[in-house]
Symmetry: C2
Protein backbone atom coordinates (compact mmCIF):
# COMPACT_ATOMS: atom_id res chain seq x y z
CA UNK A 1 0.00 0.00 0.00
CA UNK A 2 1.04 3.57 -0.64
CA UNK A 3 -0.55 6.47 1.26
CA UNK A 4 -0.64 9.88 -0.32
CA UNK A 5 -1.54 13.12 1.41
CA UNK A 6 -1.76 16.51 -0.24
CA UNK A 7 -0.75 18.59 2.78
CA UNK A 8 -1.69 21.93 1.25
CA UNK A 9 -3.34 23.24 -1.88
CA UNK A 10 -2.45 26.93 -1.96
CA UNK A 11 -0.20 28.87 -4.27
CA UNK A 12 1.78 32.03 -3.59
CA UNK A 13 0.78 32.67 0.01
CA UNK A 14 -0.24 30.42 2.88
CA UNK A 15 -3.74 30.95 4.24
CA UNK A 16 -5.17 29.85 7.55
CA UNK A 17 -7.50 27.42 5.77
CA UNK A 18 -5.25 26.61 2.82
CA UNK A 19 -1.59 25.88 3.35
CA UNK A 20 0.91 25.90 0.52
CA UNK A 21 1.02 23.00 -1.91
CA UNK A 22 3.11 20.06 -0.67
CA UNK A 23 2.76 16.33 -1.12
CA UNK A 24 3.58 13.57 1.33
CA UNK A 25 3.96 10.00 0.12
CA UNK A 26 4.26 7.08 2.56
CA UNK A 27 5.32 3.58 1.54
CA UNK A 28 6.46 0.74 3.80
CA UNK A 29 7.08 3.08 6.72
CA UNK A 30 9.14 5.60 4.77
CA UNK A 31 8.01 9.05 3.70
CA UNK A 32 8.97 11.38 0.86
CA UNK A 33 7.90 15.01 0.86
CA UNK A 34 7.64 17.13 -2.28
CA UNK A 35 7.88 20.87 -1.64
CA UNK A 36 7.84 22.59 1.72
CA UNK A 37 6.48 26.13 1.78
CA UNK A 38 5.76 28.23 4.83
CA UNK A 39 3.38 26.33 7.09
CA UNK A 40 3.99 22.81 5.76
CA UNK A 41 4.99 21.67 9.23
CA UNK A 42 1.70 23.00 10.60
CA UNK A 43 -0.49 21.00 8.24
CA UNK A 44 1.78 17.97 8.56
CA UNK A 45 1.32 18.17 12.30
CA UNK A 46 -2.46 18.26 11.82
CA UNK A 47 -2.28 15.24 9.54
CA UNK A 48 -0.57 13.24 12.26
CA UNK A 49 1.75 11.06 10.19
CA UNK A 50 4.70 12.23 12.23
CA UNK A 51 7.94 13.91 11.22
CA UNK A 52 10.55 11.32 12.01
CA UNK A 53 10.09 9.05 8.98
CA UNK A 54 10.69 11.70 6.33
CA UNK A 55 13.60 10.23 4.41
CA UNK A 56 13.67 12.57 1.46
CA UNK A 57 12.50 16.06 0.52
CA UNK A 58 12.22 17.06 -3.14
CA UNK A 59 11.95 20.66 -4.32
CA UNK A 60 10.29 21.49 -7.61
CA UNK A 61 11.88 24.96 -7.61
CA UNK A 62 12.96 27.72 -5.26
CA UNK A 63 10.15 30.22 -5.18
CA UNK A 64 9.48 30.98 -1.53
CA UNK A 65 6.05 29.34 -1.51
CA UNK A 66 7.69 25.98 -2.27
CA UNK A 67 10.68 26.03 0.07
CA UNK A 68 10.37 28.63 2.83
CA UNK A 69 9.11 26.05 5.36
CA UNK A 70 12.29 23.98 5.17
CA UNK A 71 14.25 25.36 8.16
CA UNK A 72 11.27 24.91 10.48
CA UNK A 73 10.47 21.46 9.17
CA UNK A 74 14.04 20.25 9.63
CA UNK A 75 13.95 21.51 13.18
CA UNK A 76 10.67 19.68 13.80
CA UNK A 77 12.12 16.47 12.35
CA UNK A 78 15.15 16.84 14.58
CA UNK A 79 12.97 17.42 17.63
CA UNK A 80 11.07 14.27 16.72
CA UNK A 81 14.30 12.39 17.35
CA UNK A 82 15.50 11.54 13.87
CA UNK A 83 19.19 10.70 13.56
CA UNK A 84 19.25 9.05 10.10
CA UNK A 85 20.35 11.02 7.05
CA UNK A 86 17.77 12.92 5.00
CA UNK A 87 18.23 13.29 1.25
CA UNK A 88 17.22 16.60 -0.32
CA UNK A 89 16.68 16.78 -4.08
CA UNK A 90 16.24 19.80 -6.29
CA UNK A 91 17.11 21.45 -9.59
CA UNK A 92 20.37 23.40 -10.09
CA UNK A 93 21.33 25.88 -7.34
CA UNK A 94 20.08 23.57 -4.59
CA UNK A 95 23.34 23.74 -2.68
CA UNK A 96 23.46 27.54 -2.84
CA UNK A 97 19.83 27.83 -1.75
CA UNK A 98 20.25 25.40 1.14
CA UNK A 99 23.44 27.09 2.28
CA UNK A 100 21.39 30.26 2.51
CA UNK A 101 18.26 28.93 4.19
CA UNK A 102 19.98 26.64 6.64
CA UNK A 103 21.77 29.55 8.25
CA UNK A 104 18.93 29.41 10.82
CA UNK A 105 18.79 25.60 11.16
CA UNK A 106 21.04 25.00 14.14
CA UNK A 107 22.03 21.74 15.77
CA UNK A 108 20.06 19.31 13.64
CA UNK A 109 20.31 15.76 14.94
CA UNK A 110 20.77 14.18 11.50
CA UNK A 111 22.99 14.64 8.45
CA UNK A 112 21.66 16.02 5.17
CA UNK A 113 22.65 14.62 1.80
CA UNK A 114 22.24 17.21 -0.95
CA UNK A 115 21.44 15.86 -4.40
CA UNK A 116 21.57 18.80 -6.77
CA UNK A 117 20.15 17.51 -10.03
CA UNK A 118 21.04 18.69 -13.50
CA UNK A 119 18.17 20.31 -15.32
CA UNK A 120 17.26 17.29 -17.41
CA UNK A 121 15.06 14.21 -17.22
CA UNK A 122 15.86 11.47 -14.69
CA UNK A 123 14.26 8.07 -14.63
CA UNK A 124 13.56 6.06 -11.48
CA UNK A 125 16.46 6.92 -9.19
CA UNK A 126 16.33 4.85 -6.00
CA UNK A 127 15.56 7.07 -3.00
CA UNK A 128 18.06 6.08 -0.27
CA UNK A 129 16.61 4.28 2.72
CA UNK A 130 13.29 3.65 0.97
CA UNK A 131 11.82 1.33 -1.63
CA UNK A 132 10.63 4.30 -3.68
CA UNK A 133 12.04 5.67 -6.93
CA UNK A 134 12.19 9.25 -8.11
CA UNK A 135 11.82 10.54 -11.68
CA UNK A 136 12.16 14.16 -12.78
CA UNK A 137 11.09 16.18 -15.78
CA UNK A 138 12.03 19.81 -16.55
CA UNK A 139 8.98 22.07 -16.79
CA UNK A 140 8.36 25.60 -18.03
CA UNK A 141 8.11 28.23 -15.28
CA UNK A 142 9.87 31.47 -14.36
CA UNK A 143 12.66 29.45 -12.71
CA UNK A 144 13.98 25.95 -13.48
CA UNK A 145 11.27 23.68 -12.11
CA UNK A 146 10.84 19.89 -12.01
CA UNK A 147 7.82 17.65 -12.23
CA UNK A 148 8.41 14.59 -10.06
CA UNK A 149 7.03 11.11 -10.03
CA UNK A 150 7.42 8.62 -7.22
CA UNK A 151 7.10 4.98 -8.13
CA UNK A 152 7.55 1.54 -6.62
CA UNK A 153 8.50 -1.82 -8.04
CA UNK A 154 6.34 -4.92 -7.76
CA UNK A 155 7.67 -8.43 -8.10
CA UNK A 156 6.10 -11.10 -10.26
CA UNK A 157 3.12 -13.20 -9.19
CA UNK A 158 3.83 -16.33 -7.16
CA UNK A 159 3.30 -19.41 -9.32
CA UNK A 160 1.94 -22.13 -7.07
CA UNK A 161 2.26 -24.89 -9.65
CA UNK A 162 5.91 -24.20 -10.34
CA UNK A 163 6.62 -23.90 -6.64
CA UNK A 164 5.01 -27.23 -5.88
CA UNK A 165 6.91 -28.87 -8.70
CA UNK A 166 10.19 -27.91 -6.99
CA UNK A 167 9.34 -30.13 -4.01
CA UNK A 168 10.68 -27.60 -1.53
CA UNK A 169 9.55 -27.28 2.10
CA UNK A 170 6.88 -24.58 2.15
CA UNK A 171 8.83 -22.50 4.67
CA UNK A 172 11.25 -21.66 1.83
CA UNK A 173 8.49 -20.38 -0.47
CA UNK A 174 8.31 -17.15 1.43
CA UNK A 175 12.02 -16.58 0.99
CA UNK A 176 11.78 -16.97 -2.77
CA UNK A 177 8.62 -14.88 -2.97
CA UNK A 178 10.39 -12.14 -1.04
CA UNK A 179 13.12 -12.01 -3.67
CA UNK A 180 15.72 -14.00 -1.74
CA UNK A 181 17.58 -17.11 -2.75
CA UNK A 182 17.23 -20.35 -0.80
CA UNK A 183 19.51 -23.36 -0.28
CA UNK A 184 17.96 -26.80 0.14
CA UNK A 185 19.75 -30.14 0.11
CA UNK A 186 22.77 -28.59 -1.54
CA UNK A 187 20.89 -26.94 -4.34
CA UNK A 188 20.41 -23.19 -4.88
CA UNK A 189 16.90 -21.92 -5.61
CA UNK A 190 16.25 -18.42 -7.06
CA UNK A 191 13.08 -16.24 -7.00
CA UNK A 192 12.58 -16.47 -10.75
CA UNK A 193 11.83 -20.20 -10.28
CA UNK A 194 8.54 -19.38 -8.56
CA UNK A 195 7.72 -15.84 -9.72
CA UNK A 196 6.17 -14.57 -12.94
CA UNK A 197 7.38 -11.44 -14.74
CA UNK A 198 7.67 -8.17 -12.77
CA UNK A 199 4.34 -6.33 -12.48
CA UNK A 200 3.54 -2.64 -12.37
CA UNK A 201 4.05 -0.93 -9.02
CA UNK A 202 2.50 2.31 -7.85
CA UNK A 203 3.13 5.59 -9.59
CA UNK A 204 2.14 9.09 -8.60
CA UNK A 205 3.11 12.26 -10.45
CA UNK A 206 3.33 15.85 -9.17
CA UNK A 207 3.44 18.80 -11.48
CA UNK A 208 3.60 22.44 -10.32
CA UNK A 209 4.43 25.27 -11.23
CA UNK A 210 4.39 25.22 -15.02
CA UNK A 211 2.80 25.82 -18.37
CA UNK A 212 1.41 22.61 -19.93
CA UNK A 213 4.49 21.47 -21.84
CA UNK A 214 4.09 18.59 -24.26
CA UNK A 215 6.56 16.28 -22.48
CA UNK A 216 4.29 16.00 -19.46
CA UNK A 217 1.83 13.33 -20.74
CA UNK A 218 4.56 10.77 -21.40
CA UNK A 219 6.14 11.53 -18.01
CA UNK A 220 2.93 11.03 -16.04
CA UNK A 221 1.67 8.19 -18.25
CA UNK A 222 -0.51 5.69 -16.46
CA UNK A 223 -0.02 7.23 -13.01
CA UNK A 224 -2.37 6.05 -10.29
CA UNK A 225 -2.68 9.66 -9.24
CA UNK A 226 -1.63 12.88 -10.95
CA UNK A 227 -1.39 15.98 -8.76
CA UNK A 228 -1.35 19.04 -10.96
CA UNK A 229 -1.54 22.78 -10.51
CA UNK A 230 -4.60 24.74 -11.51
CA UNK A 231 -3.92 28.31 -10.42
CA UNK A 232 -7.30 29.36 -11.78
CA UNK A 233 -10.47 27.45 -12.51
CA UNK A 234 -12.17 30.12 -14.55
CA UNK A 235 -11.44 29.55 -18.28
CA UNK A 236 -11.51 33.32 -18.74
CA UNK A 237 -8.28 33.53 -16.73
CA UNK A 238 -6.37 31.48 -19.32
CA UNK A 239 -4.32 34.44 -20.48
CA UNK A 240 -3.51 35.48 -16.93
CA UNK A 241 -2.34 31.94 -16.14
CA UNK A 242 -0.22 31.91 -19.28
CA UNK A 243 1.47 35.21 -18.49
CA UNK A 244 2.30 34.01 -14.95
CA UNK A 245 3.62 30.68 -16.31
CA UNK A 246 0.84 28.71 -14.65
CA UNK A 247 -2.18 26.69 -15.75
CA UNK A 248 -5.94 26.75 -15.60
CA UNK A 249 -7.99 23.65 -14.72
CA UNK A 250 -8.69 22.83 -18.36
CA UNK A 251 -5.00 22.61 -19.17
CA UNK A 252 -4.37 20.32 -16.23
CA UNK A 253 -7.31 18.13 -17.24
CA UNK A 254 -6.01 17.84 -20.80
CA UNK A 255 -2.65 16.67 -19.50
CA UNK A 256 -4.40 14.09 -17.32
CA UNK A 257 -6.35 12.79 -20.30
CA UNK A 258 -3.35 12.70 -22.61
CA UNK A 259 -1.28 11.03 -19.89
CA UNK A 260 -3.99 8.41 -19.37
CA UNK A 261 -3.74 8.72 -15.60
CA UNK A 262 -6.24 7.10 -13.25
CA UNK A 263 -7.08 10.18 -11.20
CA UNK A 264 -6.30 13.90 -11.01
CA UNK A 265 -6.10 16.19 -7.99
CA UNK A 266 -5.99 19.89 -8.73
CA UNK A 267 -3.91 22.11 -6.44
CA UNK A 268 -1.84 25.33 -6.11
CA UNK A 269 -4.89 27.57 -6.20
CA UNK A 270 -4.65 31.33 -6.38
CA UNK A 271 -5.37 32.91 -2.96
CA UNK A 272 -8.06 34.89 -4.77
CA UNK A 273 -9.97 31.71 -5.65
CA UNK A 274 -12.34 31.24 -2.73
CA UNK A 275 -14.05 28.04 -3.85
CA UNK A 276 -11.84 25.72 -5.93
CA UNK A 277 -14.80 23.43 -6.61
CA UNK A 278 -16.66 26.14 -8.51
CA UNK A 279 -15.00 25.41 -11.85
CA UNK A 280 -14.43 21.70 -11.36
CA UNK A 281 -17.06 20.99 -14.03
CA UNK A 282 -14.88 22.44 -16.78
CA UNK A 283 -12.07 20.08 -15.76
CA UNK A 284 -14.37 17.05 -15.53
CA UNK A 285 -15.77 17.75 -18.99
CA UNK A 286 -12.26 16.97 -20.24
CA UNK A 287 -11.13 14.43 -17.64
CA UNK A 288 -13.93 12.88 -15.56
CA UNK A 289 -11.50 11.67 -12.89
CA UNK A 290 -10.62 15.23 -11.85
CA UNK A 291 -11.08 16.29 -8.22
CA UNK A 292 -10.42 19.60 -6.50
CA UNK A 293 -7.69 18.83 -3.97
CA UNK A 294 -8.09 20.25 -0.48
CA UNK A 295 -5.74 20.40 2.47
CA UNK A 296 -4.90 16.93 3.80
CA UNK A 297 -6.95 15.02 1.23
CA UNK A 298 -5.57 11.47 1.32
CA UNK A 299 -5.67 8.38 -0.84
CA UNK A 300 -4.42 4.88 -0.29
CA UNK A 301 -3.26 2.90 -3.29
CA UNK A 302 -3.33 -0.88 -3.16
CA UNK A 303 -3.32 -3.63 -5.71
CA UNK A 304 -6.75 -4.98 -4.85
CA UNK A 305 -5.53 -8.58 -4.75
CA UNK B 1 -3.45 56.23 19.78
CA UNK B 2 -1.22 53.19 19.46
CA UNK B 3 -2.63 49.82 18.42
CA UNK B 4 -0.87 46.69 19.50
CA UNK B 5 -1.55 43.20 18.23
CA UNK B 6 0.15 40.05 19.45
CA UNK B 7 -0.02 38.11 16.18
CA UNK B 8 1.02 34.77 17.65
CA UNK B 9 1.75 33.30 21.05
CA UNK B 10 3.59 30.06 20.35
CA UNK B 11 7.18 29.08 20.93
CA UNK B 12 9.33 26.60 19.05
CA UNK B 13 6.84 25.38 16.46
CA UNK B 14 3.82 26.99 14.78
CA UNK B 15 0.49 25.32 15.43
CA UNK B 16 -2.74 25.66 13.49
CA UNK B 17 -4.36 27.44 16.42
CA UNK B 18 -1.26 29.14 17.81
CA UNK B 19 1.16 30.88 15.49
CA UNK B 20 4.66 31.83 16.56
CA UNK B 21 5.17 34.83 18.81
CA UNK B 22 5.31 38.14 16.93
CA UNK B 23 4.18 41.63 17.81
CA UNK B 24 2.73 44.29 15.56
CA UNK B 25 2.60 47.90 16.70
CA UNK B 26 0.70 50.55 14.74
CA UNK B 27 1.04 54.29 15.34
CA UNK B 28 -0.07 57.13 13.09
CA UNK B 29 -0.43 54.83 10.09
CA UNK B 30 3.01 53.22 10.43
CA UNK B 31 3.67 49.69 11.63
CA UNK B 32 6.61 48.00 13.32
CA UNK B 33 6.82 44.23 13.57
CA UNK B 34 8.90 42.40 16.15
CA UNK B 35 9.87 38.84 15.17
CA UNK B 36 8.56 36.93 12.20
CA UNK B 37 8.50 33.15 12.56
CA UNK B 38 6.93 30.68 10.17
CA UNK B 39 3.28 31.58 9.68
CA UNK B 40 3.43 35.22 10.79
CA UNK B 41 2.06 36.33 7.42
CA UNK B 42 -0.90 33.96 7.89
CA UNK B 43 -1.98 35.42 11.22
CA UNK B 44 -1.23 38.95 10.02
CA UNK B 45 -3.52 38.30 7.08
CA UNK B 46 -6.25 37.13 9.48
CA UNK B 47 -5.80 40.25 11.56
CA UNK B 48 -6.46 42.43 8.54
CA UNK B 49 -4.16 45.36 9.27
CA UNK B 50 -2.54 44.94 5.86
CA UNK B 51 1.07 44.38 4.88
CA UNK B 52 1.97 47.55 3.07
CA UNK B 53 2.54 49.85 6.05
CA UNK B 54 5.18 47.73 7.76
CA UNK B 55 8.09 50.16 7.97
CA UNK B 56 10.40 48.20 10.22
CA UNK B 57 10.98 44.62 11.33
CA UNK B 58 12.98 43.90 14.48
CA UNK B 59 14.46 40.51 15.29
CA UNK B 60 15.11 39.49 18.87
CA UNK B 61 17.40 36.65 17.72
CA UNK B 62 17.85 34.16 14.93
CA UNK B 63 16.30 30.95 16.13
CA UNK B 64 14.05 29.71 13.32
CA UNK B 65 10.84 30.24 15.26
CA UNK B 66 11.55 33.98 15.35
CA UNK B 67 12.71 34.63 11.79
CA UNK B 68 11.77 31.83 9.38
CA UNK B 69 8.69 33.68 8.15
CA UNK B 70 10.69 36.62 6.82
CA UNK B 71 11.08 35.64 3.12
CA UNK B 72 7.37 34.97 2.77
CA UNK B 73 6.41 38.14 4.61
CA UNK B 74 8.65 40.31 2.46
CA UNK B 75 7.07 38.78 -0.62
CA UNK B 76 3.59 39.48 0.75
CA UNK B 77 4.57 43.09 1.49
CA UNK B 78 5.92 43.46 -2.02
CA UNK B 79 2.74 41.97 -3.51
CA UNK B 80 0.77 44.49 -1.46
CA UNK B 81 2.48 47.19 -3.52
CA UNK B 82 5.01 48.66 -1.13
CA UNK B 83 7.85 50.58 -2.74
CA UNK B 84 9.23 52.46 0.29
CA UNK B 85 12.31 51.19 2.11
CA UNK B 86 11.90 48.78 5.04
CA UNK B 87 14.36 48.89 7.93
CA UNK B 88 15.35 45.56 9.49
CA UNK B 89 16.96 45.55 12.94
CA UNK B 90 18.67 42.73 14.77
CA UNK B 91 21.59 41.72 16.96
CA UNK B 92 25.02 40.87 15.49
CA UNK B 93 25.08 38.56 12.45
CA UNK B 94 21.94 40.16 10.98
CA UNK B 95 23.59 40.78 7.64
CA UNK B 96 24.89 37.23 7.36
CA UNK B 97 21.50 35.77 8.33
CA UNK B 98 19.59 37.97 5.89
CA UNK B 99 22.03 37.21 3.08
CA UNK B 100 21.20 33.56 3.68
CA UNK B 101 17.45 33.76 4.05
CA UNK B 102 16.84 36.23 1.27
CA UNK B 103 18.27 33.84 -1.29
CA UNK B 104 14.61 32.93 -1.94
CA UNK B 105 13.21 36.47 -1.82
CA UNK B 106 13.24 37.47 -5.47
CA UNK B 107 12.20 40.72 -7.10
CA UNK B 108 11.06 42.64 -4.03
CA UNK B 109 9.52 45.97 -4.94
CA UNK B 110 11.23 47.92 -2.15
CA UNK B 111 14.75 48.38 -0.78
CA UNK B 112 15.83 46.97 2.57
CA UNK B 113 17.99 48.87 5.02
CA UNK B 114 19.86 46.53 7.34
CA UNK B 115 20.64 47.87 10.80
CA UNK B 116 22.89 45.31 12.46
CA UNK B 117 23.08 46.39 16.08
CA UNK B 118 25.97 45.84 18.44
CA UNK B 119 25.13 43.60 21.35
CA UNK B 120 24.61 46.37 23.86
CA UNK B 121 21.85 48.65 25.15
CA UNK B 122 20.34 51.29 22.82
CA UNK B 123 18.02 54.04 23.93
CA UNK B 124 15.22 55.48 21.79
CA UNK B 125 16.58 55.32 18.26
CA UNK B 126 14.17 56.98 15.82
CA UNK B 127 12.64 54.38 13.48
CA UNK B 128 12.89 55.84 9.95
CA UNK B 129 9.63 56.86 8.36
CA UNK B 130 7.72 56.63 11.63
CA UNK B 131 7.24 58.61 14.82
CA UNK B 132 8.24 55.61 16.91
CA UNK B 133 11.49 55.01 18.79
CA UNK B 134 13.28 51.74 19.40
CA UNK B 135 15.24 50.71 22.47
CA UNK B 136 17.16 47.46 22.91
CA UNK B 137 18.50 45.46 25.83
CA UNK B 138 20.73 42.36 25.65
CA UNK B 139 19.10 39.33 27.27
CA UNK B 140 20.30 35.89 28.33
CA UNK B 141 19.43 33.08 25.91
CA UNK B 142 21.31 30.45 23.91
CA UNK B 143 22.06 33.05 21.23
CA UNK B 144 22.47 36.84 21.49
CA UNK B 145 18.93 38.07 21.97
CA UNK B 146 17.41 41.54 22.45
CA UNK B 147 14.46 42.79 24.43
CA UNK B 148 12.87 45.70 22.55
CA UNK B 149 10.75 48.59 23.55
CA UNK B 150 8.83 50.84 21.21
CA UNK B 151 7.97 54.29 22.46
CA UNK B 152 6.53 57.55 21.25
CA UNK B 153 7.03 61.17 22.28
CA UNK B 154 4.26 63.48 23.45
CA UNK B 155 4.46 67.21 23.36
CA UNK B 156 3.59 69.46 26.27
CA UNK B 157 0.05 70.48 27.16
CA UNK B 158 -1.36 73.54 25.37
CA UNK B 159 -1.55 76.46 27.80
CA UNK B 160 -4.63 78.51 26.89
CA UNK B 161 -3.83 81.41 29.19
CA UNK B 162 -0.33 81.91 27.82
CA UNK B 163 -1.60 81.57 24.25
CA UNK B 164 -4.25 84.20 24.81
CA UNK B 165 -1.71 86.54 26.36
CA UNK B 166 0.29 86.49 23.12
CA UNK B 167 -2.57 88.19 21.27
CA UNK B 168 -2.07 85.96 18.23
CA UNK B 169 -4.77 85.07 15.67
CA UNK B 170 -6.19 81.72 16.73
CA UNK B 171 -5.30 80.16 13.37
CA UNK B 172 -1.63 80.24 14.46
CA UNK B 173 -2.28 78.36 17.72
CA UNK B 174 -2.50 75.08 15.81
CA UNK B 175 0.90 75.68 14.23
CA UNK B 176 2.54 76.24 17.59
CA UNK B 177 0.72 73.32 19.19
CA UNK B 178 1.94 71.09 16.35
CA UNK B 179 5.55 71.95 17.16
CA UNK B 180 6.04 74.52 14.38
CA UNK B 181 7.17 78.10 14.59
CA UNK B 182 4.93 80.97 13.46
CA UNK B 183 5.58 84.49 12.17
CA UNK B 184 3.15 87.27 12.96
CA UNK B 185 3.62 90.98 12.39
CA UNK B 186 7.37 90.52 12.06
CA UNK B 187 7.79 88.59 15.28
CA UNK B 188 8.78 84.91 15.59
CA UNK B 189 6.72 82.68 17.90
CA UNK B 190 7.96 79.29 19.11
CA UNK B 191 6.01 76.27 20.45
CA UNK B 192 7.49 76.57 23.95
CA UNK B 193 5.56 79.87 24.27
CA UNK B 194 2.26 77.98 24.43
CA UNK B 195 3.23 74.45 25.48
CA UNK B 196 4.03 73.02 28.88
CA UNK B 197 6.86 70.52 29.47
CA UNK B 198 7.01 67.36 27.32
CA UNK B 199 4.72 64.61 28.60
CA UNK B 200 5.12 60.83 28.60
CA UNK B 201 4.26 59.08 25.34
CA UNK B 202 3.38 55.44 24.88
CA UNK B 203 5.76 52.64 25.72
CA UNK B 204 5.48 48.96 25.11
CA UNK B 205 8.16 46.37 25.86
CA UNK B 206 8.72 42.92 24.36
CA UNK B 207 10.90 40.35 26.00
CA UNK B 208 11.51 36.83 24.62
CA UNK B 209 13.50 34.47 24.69
CA UNK B 210 15.44 34.82 27.92
CA UNK B 211 16.12 34.06 31.53
CA UNK B 212 14.89 36.82 33.86
CA UNK B 213 18.00 38.98 33.97
CA UNK B 214 18.14 41.83 36.46
CA UNK B 215 18.48 44.58 33.87
CA UNK B 216 14.97 43.93 32.56
CA UNK B 217 12.90 45.84 35.18
CA UNK B 218 14.68 49.16 34.50
CA UNK B 219 14.35 48.62 30.75
CA UNK B 220 10.61 47.97 30.83
CA UNK B 221 9.95 50.47 33.59
CA UNK B 222 6.52 52.06 33.45
CA UNK B 223 5.55 50.44 30.13
CA UNK B 224 1.88 50.65 29.17
CA UNK B 225 2.17 47.02 28.13
CA UNK B 226 4.84 44.43 28.75
CA UNK B 227 4.80 41.37 26.49
CA UNK B 228 6.89 38.65 28.05
CA UNK B 229 7.60 35.00 27.44
CA UNK B 230 6.26 32.31 29.72
CA UNK B 231 7.28 29.03 28.13
CA UNK B 232 5.64 27.15 30.96
CA UNK B 233 2.92 28.06 33.41
CA UNK B 234 3.44 25.19 35.81
CA UNK B 235 5.81 26.28 38.61
CA UNK B 236 7.12 22.71 38.70
CA UNK B 237 8.68 23.28 35.31
CA UNK B 238 10.97 26.03 36.63
CA UNK B 239 14.08 23.90 36.30
CA UNK B 240 13.17 22.85 32.76
CA UNK B 241 12.64 26.50 31.80
CA UNK B 242 15.98 27.44 33.35
CA UNK B 243 17.87 24.73 31.48
CA UNK B 244 16.32 25.83 28.16
CA UNK B 245 17.10 29.50 28.89
CA UNK B 246 13.44 30.41 29.15
CA UNK B 247 11.02 31.55 31.87
CA UNK B 248 7.96 30.36 33.71
CA UNK B 249 4.96 32.61 34.32
CA UNK B 250 6.08 33.49 37.83
CA UNK B 251 9.38 34.85 36.60
CA UNK B 252 7.64 36.99 33.96
CA UNK B 253 5.19 38.28 36.58
CA UNK B 254 8.02 39.23 38.93
CA UNK B 255 9.67 41.24 36.16
CA UNK B 256 6.36 43.01 35.47
CA UNK B 257 6.00 43.89 39.14
CA UNK B 258 9.58 45.08 39.52
CA UNK B 259 9.30 47.05 36.27
CA UNK B 260 6.09 48.68 37.51
CA UNK B 261 4.40 48.15 34.15
CA UNK B 262 0.69 48.75 33.62
CA UNK B 263 -0.16 45.39 32.06
CA UNK B 264 1.45 42.08 31.16
CA UNK B 265 0.68 39.71 28.30
CA UNK B 266 2.28 36.29 28.55
CA UNK B 267 3.38 34.59 25.32
CA UNK B 268 5.79 32.12 23.67
CA UNK B 269 4.08 29.10 25.16
CA UNK B 270 5.46 25.60 24.84
CA UNK B 271 3.55 23.61 22.19
CA UNK B 272 2.95 21.07 24.96
CA UNK B 273 0.97 23.62 26.99
CA UNK B 274 -2.61 23.09 25.83
CA UNK B 275 -4.32 25.73 27.95
CA UNK B 276 -2.15 28.77 28.74
CA UNK B 277 -4.82 30.13 31.10
CA UNK B 278 -4.50 27.15 33.43
CA UNK B 279 -1.63 28.61 35.44
CA UNK B 280 -2.52 32.28 35.05
CA UNK B 281 -3.43 32.38 38.75
CA UNK B 282 0.19 31.90 39.79
CA UNK B 283 1.19 34.89 37.66
CA UNK B 284 -1.65 37.06 38.98
CA UNK B 285 -0.73 36.26 42.55
CA UNK B 286 2.49 38.15 41.84
CA UNK B 287 1.26 40.69 39.27
CA UNK B 288 -2.52 41.16 39.12
CA UNK B 289 -2.34 42.81 35.68
CA UNK B 290 -1.15 39.60 34.02
CA UNK B 291 -3.11 38.15 31.11
CA UNK B 292 -2.52 35.07 29.01
CA UNK B 293 -1.91 36.38 25.51
CA UNK B 294 -3.65 34.62 22.65
CA UNK B 295 -3.30 34.93 18.90
CA UNK B 296 -4.36 38.36 17.66
CA UNK B 297 -5.19 39.80 21.07
CA UNK B 298 -5.19 43.56 20.58
CA UNK B 299 -5.02 46.65 22.73
CA UNK B 300 -5.36 50.32 21.91
CA UNK B 301 -3.43 52.78 24.01
CA UNK B 302 -4.68 56.34 24.30
CA UNK B 303 -4.15 59.21 26.69
CA UNK B 304 -7.73 59.39 27.85
CA UNK B 305 -7.84 63.16 27.48
Amino acid sequence: MMDICLLGTGGMMPLHNRYLTALLCRYKGNMVLIDCGEGTQVTLNLQGWGFKSIDAICFTHYHADHISGLPGLLWAISNAGRTEEITIYGPPELERILTGLLVIAYDLGFPIKIVELEYREYNEMPIPGTEMFLSCLPLKHGKPCFAYSISTKRGGKFDLERAEALNLPKRLWGELQGGNEALFEGRRYTPDMVLGPEREGFKIAYCTDTRPVKTIPAFINGADLFICEGLYGDPEKAERARSHMHMIYQEAARLAREGDVKALWLTHYSPAMINPKEFLGVARAIFPGAAAGYDRITKTLDFGD
